[in-house]
Subunit: 362 residues, 2 copies
């Protein structure tokens, strides 16, 4: 698309393009008042819009932040995206969005596209996986990121480093204490209750899921309980639903799979993210079961849309927007007031939220 150019503004104002640029963009060299006024009027009358591409080329800084998510309509990613947007706005930058379905190969393509656009930084949200089938793509993604950082780009990854990434200068990780928080949740859920636990996890090798499983088992151990059985499923609502169907069949058959009968209020289910918990709850409901009467359920994340979920779901609350903001700020250039921006993991914490879904029913 064409629009008027700085050269046209300069010509109309009767000055050089250098002077027009100085007036409109600021400069150490201050043009005279009369000249500045002429330039501004010329720009107004021509409806001058700067060409950001030409500016980026001349200045070697694009003002773009690339954001990679699995699915923008997933409340987890949407909340992080909102935080990224806010922080980007503070930095007067714009967000380029890429949706990848969580496939490392797709993520690598997105990084390459951002690099081509000379995005100043990239924020990557979404779980990492060490599954064998992702091995080649992980390696390519890591190589692409290393190259991007070596060329001067900044990267912030939410959760875990990209598998195989060299963590060069400019590479930041916003760690999330999934393990510790899941342990805390387990301790609180086990307190004063003697029922059996089962964990609905994502695929093996998916770091977020594995951390949360490991943490929950640690918490159970800390509370003097034996390890819970783990059901492996897709890391989404549908995976939770499938696991929920299996568990509903068990509850109805009166068994709990590997242990004895549920004691007291039935089975305690921990799903490693909220949407899986929601899926499992939907399955139990579809099978005529009630929460928390027939089984207790807890999730992880505290996505915003949980607010209207009934029964109120116990979960670990993560500050998702804040995570997006932190990641974005981690990639910001050093500011004039000397703020420290280093590659150390940034502190994020969460909270156990016990709600109706895991309360006693008398």
């Amino acid at each position: 698309m064409a629009a008027s150019t700085l050269t046209e503004v300069a010509r109309l104002a009767g000055v050089s393009p250098a002077t027009a640029s100085r007036v409109l963009n600021g400069s150490a060299r201050k043009p005279g008042k009369d000249i500045a006024e002429r330039v501004r009027q010329a720009a107004d009358s021509l409806g001058y819009i700067p060409n950001a591409q030409a500016q980026g080329l001349a200045k070697s800084s694009s003002g773009l932040i690339g954001l990679i998510v699995h699915d923008i309509a997933d409340p987890y990613f949407a909340a992080i995206a909102r935080g990224v947007q806010e922080a980007a706005r503070e930095q007067r930058r714009m967000v380029l969005l890429a949706t990848t379905g969580g496939a490392p190969g797709e993520e690598k393509e997105a990084v390459a596209a951002f690099a081509a656009r000379r995005a100043d930084s990239i924020v990557i949200a979404g779980s990492r996986s060490s599954r064998a089938e992702d091995g080649d793509d992980n390696a390519e993604l890591a190589a692409e990121l290393d190259r991007y950082c070596r060329n001067g780009g900044q990267v912030a990854v939410v959760g875990h480093p990209v598998v195989g990434a060299a963590a060069p200068e400019g590479y930041h990780v916003v760690s999330v204490p999934n393990q510790e928080l899941a342990a805390d949740l387990a301790v609180e859920l086990a307190a004063g209750w003697e029922g059996d636990f089962v964990i609905i996890g994502g695929p093996e090798g998916l770091f977020t899921s594995d951390d949360r499983i490991r943490g929950f088992q640690e918490g159970l151990s800390r509370a003097g309980r034996g390890p819970a059985e783990v059901l492996r499923n897709s890391f989404n609502r549908s995976g939770g639903y499938d696991a929920g169907l299996k568990l509903a069949a068990r509850i109805k058959a009166g068994g709990t799979g590997e242990g004895g009968r549920p004691a007291g209020n039935g089975l305690g289910i921990f799903a490693v993210n909220d949407v899986m918990a929601i899926g499992a709850a939907a399955a139990l409901r579809a099978e005529g079961l009630r929460i928390p009467r027939d089984a207790r359920i807890a999730g992880f994340d505290d996505i915003e849309t949980l607010r209207d979920f009934r029964p109120a779901l116990s979960t670990v609350s993560l500050p998702l927007e804040e995570i997006g903001r932190l990641a974005t700020r981690a990639t910001a250039p050093p500011t004039a007031d000397g703020d420290e921006q280093d590659s150390a993991p940034l502190p994020v914490t969460g909270r156990v939220m016990l709600r109706r879904s895991t309360e006693a029913t008398d």
Copy 2:
């Protein structure tokens, strides 16, 4: 950020930059096989990444689509964004995201920023408002869009044209039959039920809200019913919650405000979007009331997260992702196979979904 350049690739391969460009980008002029091989090897060994900004400058096409939403974490906008992402991907373009809170002044700033980046097209989602307080900003937004279109950009607006926009060449509207669908909903809700209706609307002057209100009143009239009372509130969950508190108080006091007592199953509430309906339902619940026992509730949009809302909410289902896709495709350049892309409103339709929230309770 810096990376190797086409010029360096050409030098390493021993050819001119023009030839290197032809090899890597394709051209009517086909370089010889030996030369092409040398160029490709040089590009590989240098890890050449094209500079999209320079390409955009040279080609006058940026490959960017600007997307303006009110709040990316709102399920309505997130679903539209997903559709835009998919369609953008088909066109091998990238999406620039701007979040504006629905303020026309913020939207104008976003349009200007997209114009500076020479975005090839812009998709604007979110309700239009003719409120007096928005008048100046609406005029500025319209002027900015007109200029953008005159400079060759393509715009697609979801729902209503921007107030004051001249609808120049390149300006498309993806209309949504809010009025007709709301009328259909009213007809179906009124069928076989004699209770009173009340409408929870957004602020006056907000087109989407006003259309849905008008449509619902028409549907009631068609069904031989008198007009429903309209409560005006913020066009979000919180606005629905506030209205719900008022209605709860009435229900508890045994009145319905302007009519007599609720007949049969209480009051029939139509909220002009799902999140308002959810807010109202939350308020009723907080006041100890049950849906649909004490009041029936219906919303509009059928956002994805409604899936796990209980009781299942009656609503008008809109194909939100499809709307995003249609809008994006409306702004695509004509393709080689001669597809027609004109400024006529594009057909979108929806469906009334009657669910548990408006069913009879015996």
